[in-house]
Symmetry: C2
C-alpha cells in the first residue's frame, strides 16, 4: 500500500503561515514596537531577503547574540525557514565560552546587539571564521565597529517577498549549547519536524487545567530565546493565537510594568524568576494585575513556599520537567481526570510535581542496571525519556551522544520517582542528591520544606562529606527578615512531626548568605555553593 | 549534524497510552456498557492477544462489518497497534460492492456483527480468501453460521497483557473505500503517522471558538466509524480527554435519548443528520438538552435554514471541509481573530463557510490550467490541498492516484472560492455545478437560500440540459408543511432583492418529493435525483 507520492513535510514555514493568517491582527510586542502576526511574516521575509543577499545559504549556521527582542524573533523564523540553522548563543556564558560555542557550531554569519560588540571585538582575531557581522542597535545609530564585514541590521532588510524554499522536515532549524558538570558546553540541535511536533503538543496541552490557555491569553515567556528557543513558545503562539510580549533583558521592575501594561496572563519561566518577581519591594502595587496569572515553571522544582506565596496573589502555578536535551518540557503538571476531582490542597501538590508525560512521550525511572522501577511514588531512579522531539545527540560528540542515548532511551542524569497516576517528581540531579547512611535525601524536597518556614527567602541544600554518614546536608539560606538558626530548627521539627521529612534529613548546618549564586539560565549554581563550604 | 539515533515514531500506541493514563476514569459508552479509558486499553490488549492466537500477523488486513459499537472501537486500536491494517467496511454498500471492497483490500480476517451474517453467507463461496471469521453478537447467543472457521468474539478475548510491537510510523493503520461518480469504490489508506498528526491538530483546533472544546465536553460523533474512522475522533478523545458516546446504528430517537441521558455537548456529523434530528416530531421535548450543544459538520455545506433552526435551539454549528481522500476535515470554521471581532450575523456567515485551513494544511483554488486564483471570495476554481495526513493514493490504482495527485497537490474535484481572510467556501462537486449561459450557479448556495424559505424542509438542486442556456436548475423539495410553488417563487424574489442570489439563478422547476435519496454516508444522492427528471 505505498505509492511514490510525497506527503507534506512538517516545517516552521507552515506554522508561521497559520499564525499570520488565522491570527493576522494578534500582536508581538517589544518596547514601543507592536507588530501583528501578519506584519511579522512580512518582516521575516525582508530579513530572509537581506540575509540571502548577504550570502547566507541553505546549511549555513547563523548566530544571534541578543536578549529577547523583536529582531531575535524575526531571526528565529527567517533563518530556519531559509534552510539555514540558527545558533542561539547563550549571552550569559563567559566570553571565551561564547567564542568556543560559536567556533564549534561553525557560525558563518552573526547577528549581534550593539551592547555585545565590545565582548566580540576583544576576541576579534579569533573570529576569523565568521564571514559577516550584522549589528543591531536600538539607539538608531549605526554603530562604529572594528569588525570586518559589518552590516547594520536595518540596512540589511529588503522590503519584498521572499519565496521560502520547500525544506525537508529533517532540516536542522536550531542549535544551542548546554552546560554539563564538566568540560565545555555541548551543542544540541532540533529539526523542523521536532519543533513542529513539540509545538502542536504544547498547544494541545496548554488548554488543559490548571493552565486553561485560550486565544485571549497574553503570553510573556521568561525563558530566554537563547535557551531551548523559549521552549518553542514563539512557534506555539502561531498556532494558539496569543499576543506575545518580549521583555528584552530580564529586569523585575520592567517585567511587572509589562504585566500591568500588556495585561499578561500566561508565563513560562524558572522558579527563581518568579521568586524574584514576588519578592520585589513594590510587589503589592501590582497585586491587582497578578490575579489570574498562570505560570508554568521548569528547570527546577517549585518550592512549596513559593507556590503558597503565589497563591496569595491569586497566581496559578504548575510545574514542568525537562532539560535542553529533551527540547524543554516533556512533562507538565496538567490535571488528569483523577486529579481534577481531588481537593484543592491535593491539586496543588500535583501542580508542584514535575507533571505528567505529554502526548507521545514515554518516561520511566530506572535503576543503575536500566531496569524499570515501579510507579509507587517511592522508588528513586534515573529518569529516562523517549519522544519524537528529543535531540538526536550532542554536536560532533559521538561519545557523549551514545552515553546520552544508551539502550535507545535519553538518559537525563536526573533522579526522580513516578507515582501511581503517572506524575513524575524530579528529586535531584544525580550529582546533587545526598546519600546519608546509605539512604537518599532529596535536596529539592528539603529545600521546598525549608522554603515554607517563616522569613526564609531563598534556600539551597548541598551535601558535604561526612566520615560517619558518607554525606550530610548543609543549607544555604537568604533571609527575608529577622531569622535565626533556632527558628528554622523548630520549623523543621514541626515538618518532621507532620511527616514531610525524616528527622535525619534536618541539615547539620545553616549558612546565611546575601544571595545564592545562579547559572546562566537562572538556576541555583550548586557547584559554586559547594566551593563555599 | 546527524547521528544514527532513532527518535520516536508517531504511532497509535502512544495515543492510547496517553488516554488510558491521563484520562483513566473517562468513559466510552455504548448501550449499557461503560468502559473507562484505562479499562478500554486492557480490552484492546485482550483482543490483540485473541487475534494473534487466531493467526493475525503484521501486514494482514482485518475487516470490521458493524455499526458504531464498543467492539468496533476495540478493533480500531487493537488491529493497527498489532501492525495489521483495519479495513472499515462500508455496511451501507450493496452486498456485491461490499464483497468487491473486501476482496480488493485482501481482507484475511473479518469481525462481523451477527446482523450482517445473512448478507455474508449469501456470498459464502466468494469469500474463500478469508482465513477466519469472528462473529460478534449482542444477544449473548453464539450464532450458528454456515461460514467456515468461525469464532465468537467474546470467546476470542484472552485476558492478559499484550506486548504491542514498536511499529514504524509509516505502517498502514486503516483502509476504507470511497465512492466516485463512476466505477467501483476506491480504497484509501492512512498510516499511523498521518492519524497521529491529524489527531494532534484536531485536538489543538477544537479548543478555538466557536467550538471551545474542553475536557468536560461529552462527544457523540455521528460520522460512522466505517467512514474515515469517524474523522479520527476515537483517537482525538484519547488526547483531549472527552467522554465518548457510541450510538450504534444511527436512529434519531436513540440519538436524542443519548443526548439527554449522557449529556452530550459536542458532535461531528453531516448536515442531513442534524436536519433529521431537528425535524423529529418530538424534538421540543428535548429542547433543554440541546442548549449549548456544538455541532461541527462536513461532507456537504450547511444550509442557512438549518443553521438558523439550530440557533433557535441554542445549538452552535460550524462547518468543516474535507473528503475521504483528505482524511476528513482539512478546514474548520473556527473564528480567526478578525472574525471573532465581527458581529453575530457575520460570525454565523463564517461558521457556514467551509472554514479555515487547519495548521500545516495548504489549500488553494486553481483554474483548469492549475494556476492559483485570487483570495477574493469570487473566483471559482477547483480546490487542491497539501497536508501531512492526506492519503498517498488509491489502493492498487496508480492511474487514478496520479490523477488525484497531479502537480504534487491533491485534486478534490470540488469547486470553491477562498476569501480575503482565508475562509474556503465549497461551491459544488465539479459534476454538480450548473453552468447556465456560460456562468456558474452554485447549487449549494441556491439550496441554502431555498432552505430559508418558510415551510421548506430539505432541498436539493440539480442541473438539467437546456437548449438555450446549456443547463438550468431544478429544485427538489421536501415540504415541512403546506407549501406551494408560488410561495417559494416569492421567497426567492425576496432573496434576489436582498442580493443573496441572481434572478437567473431561480430554478425553472420545483418538484415536491416525499424524501431525498441519500448516499451510504448520508449525503443527498444527486445522481439518483437526476434520474427522476
Amino acid at each position: 500500500m505505498s505509492n511514490p507520492v510525497s506527503t507534506q513535510d512538517l516545517t516552521i514555514k507552515d506554522i508561521l503561515e497559520f499564525g499570520a493568517t488565522a491570527w493576522s491582527e494578534t500582536e508581538i510586542v517589544y518596547k514601543n514596537e507592536r507588530v501583528t502576526f501578519s506584519q511579522f511574516k512580512e518582516r521575516v521575509s525582508w530579513l530572509a531577503m537581506g540575509l540571502t543577499e548577504l550570502g547566507v545559504r541553505q546549511g549555513d549556521v547563523v548566530a544571534v547574540i541578543d536578549w529577547d527582542t523583536m529582531r531575535y524573533m524575526e531571526a528565529m523564523f527567517a533563518v530556519p525557514m531559509m534552510g539555514a540553522t540558527l545558533h542561539t548563543v547563550n549571552v550569559r556564558y563567559p566570553p571565551e565560552v561564547v567564542l568556543y560555542t560559536m567556533k564549534h557550531a561553525d557560525d558563518s554569519y552573526v547577528i549581534v546587539r550593539d551592547e555585545f560588540l565590545p565582548l566580540i571585538e576583544k576576541f576579534k582575531d579569533a573570529f576569523s571564521f565568521v564571514k559577516g557581522w550584522i549589528v543591531y542597535s536600538e539607539s538608531g545609530n549605526r554603530p562604529n565597529s572594528a569588525l570586518p564585514n559589518v552590516r547594520y541590521y536595518d540596512d540589511l532588510l529588503i522590503k519584498t517577498h521572499f519565496d521560502f524554499p520547500e525544506l525537508g522536515e529533517e532540516s536542522v532549524a536550531m542549535v544551542f549549547y548546554t552546560s554539563g558538570t564538566t568540560g565545555m558546553p555541548k551543542g544540541v540541535w532540533f529539526t523542523h519536524k521536532q519543533i513542529a511536533l513539540h509545538t502542536m503538543v504544547l498547544t494541545a496541552v496548554g488548554r488543559l487545567p490548571p493552565l486553561n490557555v485560550n486565544p485571549d491569553d497574553v503570553f510573556m515567556i521568561l525563558v530566554p530565546l537563547f535557551h531551548i528557543h523559549s521552549w518553542d513558545y514563539p512557534q506555539t503562539v502561531m498556532l494558539s493565537g496569543n499576543k506575545y510580549v518580549l521583555s528584552g533583558k530580564y529586569d523585575v521592575e520592567n517585567i511587572l510594568e509589562l504585566i500591568r501594561k500588556e495585561k499578561v496572563t500566561y508565563t513560562a519561566t524558572v522558579p527563581t524568576v518568579l521568586y524574584m518577581i514576588l519578592n520585589h519591594p513594590r510587589i503589592r502595587e501590582y497585586a491587582e494585575y497578578l490575579r489570574g496569572w498562570r505560570v508554568v515553571m521548569g528547570g527546577a522544582a517549585i518550592p512549596r513556599g513559593l507556590a503558597l506565596k503565589a497563591k496569595e496573589f491569586g497566581i496559578t502555578v504548575a510545574s514542568g520537567y525537562g532539560m535542553s536535551e529533551t527540547h524543554g518540557p516533556v512533562t507538565v503538571a496538567f490535571f488528569s481526570d483523577r486529579v481534577s476531582q481531588m481537593n484543592e490542597n491535593a491539586r496543588l501538590n500535583y501542580a508542584l510535581t514535575g507533571g505528567r508525560p505529554l502526548p507521545m512521550v514515554r518516561i520511566k525511572v530506572v535503576d543503575t542496571e536500566g531496569r524499570e522501577l515501579p510507579h509507587d511514588g517511592r522508588s528513586v531512579g534515573e529518569i529516562v525519556v523517549r519522544a519524537p522531539w528529543l535531540t538526536e545527540g550532542y554536536l560532533k560528540d559521538p561519545e557523549r551522544t551514545s552515553k546520552l542515548w544508551r539502550n535507545g532511551w535519553l538518559h537525563t542524569g536526573d533522579l526522580g520517582v513516578i507515582d501511581e497516576f503517572g506524575y513524575v517528581t524530579f528529586m535531584d540531579r544525580e550529582g546533587d542528591a545526598i546519600k546519608s547512611g546509605g539512604e537518599f535525601i532529596s535536596t529539592l524536597i528539603l529545600e521546598s520544606v525549608i522554603s515554607e518556614c517563616h522569613k526564609v527567602g531563598e534556600v539551597a541544600v548541598v551535601g558535604v562529606k561526612d566520615e560517619k554518614w558518607g554525606q550530610r546536608p548543609v543549607a544555604f539560606i537568604v533571609k527575608a527578615g529577622t531569622l535565626e538558626e533556632g527558628d528554622i530548627g523548630s520549623c523543621l521539627e514541626d515538618a518532621v512531626k507532620q511527616g514531610k521529612i525524616q528527622r535525619w534529613w534536618i541539615p547539620d548546618k545553616f549558612l546565611f548568605v546575601e544571595a545564592l549564586p545562579k547559572t546562566s539560565t537562572n538556576k541555583v549554581d550548586k557547584k559554586e555553593l559547594r566551593k563555599l563550604i
